[in-house]
């Protein structure tokens, strides 16, 4: 009887694994190609009740000041992109640059979209609650990250109870305290 070589015998299980892996990859590729394209004509507004008016009035400046510096969320390479007068600007031809020109409406709207779009389903779920509590709000990444309840690459950017944090909490829970927002957006 012809003896098989030791190498061939030992490699056989690896070849089986390779073959199964290749088959699974092909099956996955076929499934992904077969899915129908997204043909929705209009964008759906994901979150409607995160009080955009209060956001524009004062909450937004807290995000600009505390999150939007160029070395943090004021950069195109990071999620939750924040535009601001002293940070990242939407490309424009009116001369607005970091430190030049006030934050524009387009930039404020983009910030709102970035913030409510961070966890749209979770935020919708949170906003549907009555009443909404601060403890509920702390489960959102919007607060759990800067408070370092969850890991945040930029470290602790807010602390519980301080005006900036309370501004965001009161906005999320439905009664934005604009006085706290003013305090929270001024230099520490």
């Amino acid at each position: 009887m012809r003896q098989r070589s030791g190498l061939g015998g030992a490699l056989k299980p690896f070849l089986y694994v390779l073959a199964i892996g290749a088959f699974a990859s092909l099956a996955g590729l076929a499934a992904s190609c077969a899915s129908s394209p997204d043909d929705s004509k209009e964008p759906k507004l994901v979150v409607e009740s995160a009080d955009p008016a209060a956001f524009r009035l004062g909450v937004e400046t807290v995000f600009e000041r505390r999150c939007g510096s160029l070395d943090c969320h004021g950069t195109t390479s990071r999620g939750l992109r924040i535009y601001s007068a002293n940070g990242l600007r939407i490309p424009n031809d009116v001369g607005n640059a970091p430190g030049i020109g006030a934050t524009t409406s387009d930039e404020i709207n983009a910030n709102y979209a970035a913030i409510v779009g961070l966890q749209p389903e979770k935020l919708n779920e949170f906003l549907a609650k009555t009443p909404r509590t601060a403890d509920d709000a702390y489960h959102l990444l919007l607060l759990s990250k800067p408070l370092q309840i969850e890991r945040h690459k930029g470290g602790a950017a807010l602390s519980k109870g301080e005006p900036a944090e309370q501004c965001i909490v009161t906005w999320l829970t439905g009664k934005a305290d604009q006085a706290l927002c003013v305090k929270g957006s001024t230099a520490p």
């Binding site: 030791g6 510096s69 490309p91 640059a97 970091p98 470290g155 950017a157 230099a187």
Partner: protein, 197 residues
């Protein structure tokens, strides 16, 4: 018996190759860090020393686990004016962190003759954000926004005229409206005028 020994040696060989492969992968330097260092370009003639690479992001190498032996918590370069890249000697950098602490008062943070300054982490390990102000000869400039996490000023302040990305970066740090009234450093290990190169 012979077949069993042959099989075992083959298995050992495969295990060795796999082990060596894993070791090789784990010993490969961080590719992001590697690319960042490579992007810095050529070393300053005579460097590395405290006068090297003005205007570049010091923290790329001067960090825990970086290529340099020293770890800086904050470092950068101060230039004279908005339209030049001449380093300012003897400018003082005032820093205050989120806990209200500053670098040791007996070790003021001053720029050297090419405009470079640095704070060793062993001397001051700040809690971000940091507020910063620079001054020399009665002229003071305060940064409008905070430093949220960057150890290198040059992460955001690019020593490039004109700036490559006018919407996402800020110009180099400058103290005066044009030239330093005290003039360019007369004796320096490196030329403090980056524009001269």
């Amino acid at each position: 018996m012979i077949r069993s020994r042959s099989k075992r040696s083959t298995q050992l060989a495969i295990a060795f190759v796999l082990g060596a492969g894993v070791l090789a992968i784990s010993c490969t330097p961080d590719p992001v860090q590697h690319d960042a260092v490579k992007a810095l370009g050529k070393e300053t003639p005579g460097g590395p020393n405290e006068f090297h690479r003005p205007g570049q992001p010091c923290g790329t190498c001067h960090q825990d686990g970086g290529n340099a032996s020293s770890d800086f918590s904050v470092a950068g370069t101060i230039f004279a004016g908005p339209d030049n890249l001449i380093g300012v000697e003897g400018a003082r950098i005032d820093l205050v962190d989120a806990n209200g602490t500053s670098p040791p008062i007996n070790q003021p943070v001053l720029t050297n003759c090419v405009g470079n300054f640095f704070v060793r982490r062993g001397d001051w390990d700040p809690a971000f954000p940091i507020a910063v102000r620079i001054q020399k000869g009665g002229v003071t400039r305060t940064m409008r926004s905070q430093i949220s996490r960057a150890a290198s000023c040059a992460d955001c302040h690019k020593a490039q005229l004109p700036p490559a990305d006018p919407f996402g970066t800020v110009p180099h740090i400058y103290l005066f409206s044009d030239q330093d009234p005290a003039g360019k450093a007369k004796t320096c290990a490196s030329d403090p005028d980056l524009g001269a190169h």
